[in-house]
């Protein structure tokens, strides 16, 4: 049986209440390293993006150190996100129900869950965030390396460097917007943050937001129990 939506470690636990394991400890550590890097990059990057936010360099010990540390945090983020990508890409592949979900974005925003198709581990919105992050991070690391004069000055011409800074700035704005969507969705949909802190969500949360995933896990559990008995 193909369970495209189920990732390693996903599991339904039936106790007094139903809980569902959503993220392993490894995935959570991986996520939070990426998250901290992204926030530090946004703060140090915004400091150099506009003079009105230059004061943010104070958080990093001044302009020179901000300029020095920003690309290194970017390198850490790139590899950390690569880990997340390898973990999550399969469950983020686009499915037929995702188009329907997207077409009913109005119902999504109004929380009319009953009008939405049942979705797997990730809904279309989460998939858009995932793929946007992936594409933008690649754009940012490539343009960032071209801008990294300390080590890579010789490898590009000045006109290329100009294009790189423009692309880097635009991609950075875009990723901050995507990040706002990501964080807001996690706050708005109550019970979501538990997935990344405790690793578990309630059965009700899974039923309400990712029913197809929950059903798959239940079927998987039944099969496992069945084979254990046999």
């Amino acid at each position: 049986m193909t369970m495209y939506d189920v990732e390693a470690g996903d599991k339904v636990r039936v106790g007094k209440a139903v809980t569902v394991d959503r993220y392993t400890t490894g995935a959570r550590i991986n996520h939070w390293i990426t998250a901290i890097c992204l926030i530090l990059l946004a703060l140090s990057g915004l400091a150099l993006f506009t003079p009105s936010l230059y004061f943010l360099t104070g958080l990093f010990g001044g302009g020179q150190f901000t300029r020095f540390i920003h690309p290194w945090i970017g390198v850490v983020l790139f590899f950390s996100f690569a880990g997340l990508f390898l973990r999550f890409w399969k469950a983020n592949l686009w499915r037929s129900e995702d188009g329907t979900w997207m077409a009913r974005l109005r119902d999504v925003m109004a929380a009319n869950e009953d009008r939405l198709p049942e979705v797997g581990k990730y809904n279309a919105g989460q998939k858009v965030v995932f793929w946007s992050m992936s594409i933008l991070i690649i754009t940012l690391i490539v343009s960032g390396v071209v801008m990294w004069d300390q080590y890579f000055y010789e490898y590009s011409s000045i006109p290329q460097k100009r294009i790189a800074v423009l692309i880097h700035a635009v991609a950075a704005v875009a990723i901050i917007c995507v990040w706002i969507v990501h964080v807001y969705a996690a706050i708005w949909v109550r019970g979501t943050i538990d997935a990344m802190t405790k690793g578990q969500v309630t059965g009700g949360w899974a039923w309400r937001h990712h029913r197809k995933w929950l059903k798959e896990l239940v079927v998987g559990r039944k099969t496992a129990n069945g084979s254990a008995k046999g």
Binding site: F49, P51, G63, I158, I176, I180, V189, W207, V218
Partner: protein, 313 residues
């Protein structure tokens, strides 16, 4: 001969301009000095240059710089490019003039042009790291420089260089410290042929006219003054024998201006970017206020239990 600038007295002199005379300051909004000082300019007459490099030496001497011993690759240019220590550089070009059939040795003294509309200053993200005085001099204030290299991208002439030692940007200061006490730049002082002269911008333009008339009388019909309007003019100008094709002088840009990509990056992108981020945050906030949180209901939990326990049986 252009009247030479008198030697200074030995008595200390108050600087003629300072922080009160700024008309632009990088990454800052300042009120420009109410009254502009007379604009100064350095005029480099390429037709008079003999390529002795006295100006290069004087620049190193006055600014207390030391250049590395380089490698000879068979050209006169030494070092091969501007560096954090070499703020001015003689660039030698052998030009076979197709009209006269003459081989012309074009020697251009490269360095900061002190643009009236400085691209470096526009690109700089560090408040006060680049300033422009009301007399037109563009200077780097190293205490404020963070070494990001944005000035390198902003400059239409490829002038600033970032030091690998202290990670700060360096370029010609137009000897701001000498000019402040009524002297000319060190390179001008050292030039043995008056290929470099220094004075007010108007004086330099007038002097250039005389030189251009002379050059034209000697058959250089396209002789002219290089004071590019694309950067609103410069405070370092050239007299060129062939002003119609400045690029033959070691790629001196023909009609330079600040790159539109830099303008877009520092202009629309900044405002549109801040607006976009603000809009996303505001929409999120408003949505939460209006729609309220999306909570899991007790019914959802019961349904999940039913499903899971059903699955168990």
């Amino acid at each position: 001969m252009f009247p030479p600038i008198a030697n200074p007295s030995t008595k200390p002199v108050e600087p003629k301009f300072g922080d009160k005379d700024l008309i632009r300051r990088s990454a800052s909004s300042i009120t420009p000095a109410a009254q502009r000082q007379t604009e100064v300019a350095k005029l480099i007459d390429v037709s008079k240059c003999i390529g002795c490099k006295a100006c290069q030496v004087a620049c190193l001497e006055w600014n207390n710089l030391t250049e590395e011993v380089g490698i000879n690759v068979g050209v006169y240019d030494n070092p091969h490019d501007l560096t954090p220590n070499t703020w001015t550089l003689m660039r030698y070009t052998e030009y076979a003039n197709p009209e006269s059939g003459n081989l012309e040795w074009l020697i251009r003294k490269d360095g900061c042009m002190h643009c009236e509309d400085p691209g470096c200053l526009k690109a700089c993200p560090a408040p006060g790291a680049i300033v422009q005085y009301s007399n037109g001099i563009v200077d780097f204030i190293h205490d404020n420089c963070i070494g990001c290299g944005y000035c390198v991208r902003g400059c239409p002439f490829n002038i600033p260089r970032i030091s690998k030692v202290d990670h700060k940007a360096y370029k010609c200061t137009l000897c701001v410290d000498r000019v402040a006490v009524g002297q000319g730049p060190a390179c001008q002082k050292a030039c043995p042929t008056q290929a470099i002269v220094f004075g007010t911008k108007d004086e330099m333009k007038k002097w250039a006219e005389k030189r251009i008339t002379d050059l034209k009388s000697r058959g250089f019909k396209n002789a002219g003054l290089y004071d590019p309007p694309g950067v609103s003019g410069t405070h370092v100008m050239y007299v060129l024998q062939h002003n119609d094709k400045p690029e033959i002088y070691a790629n001196l840009p023909n009609n330079p201006s600040i790159s539109p990509i830099v303008e877009l990056w520092k202009g629309a992108t900044k405002y549109a970017g801040l607006a976009a981020m603000g809009a996303f945050a505001a929409i999120g906030f408003l949505h939460h206020v209006i729609a309220g949180p999306n909570r899991v209901s007790a019914e959802d939990e019961r349904n999940a239990e039913k499903l899971a326990k059903g699955g168990q049986s």
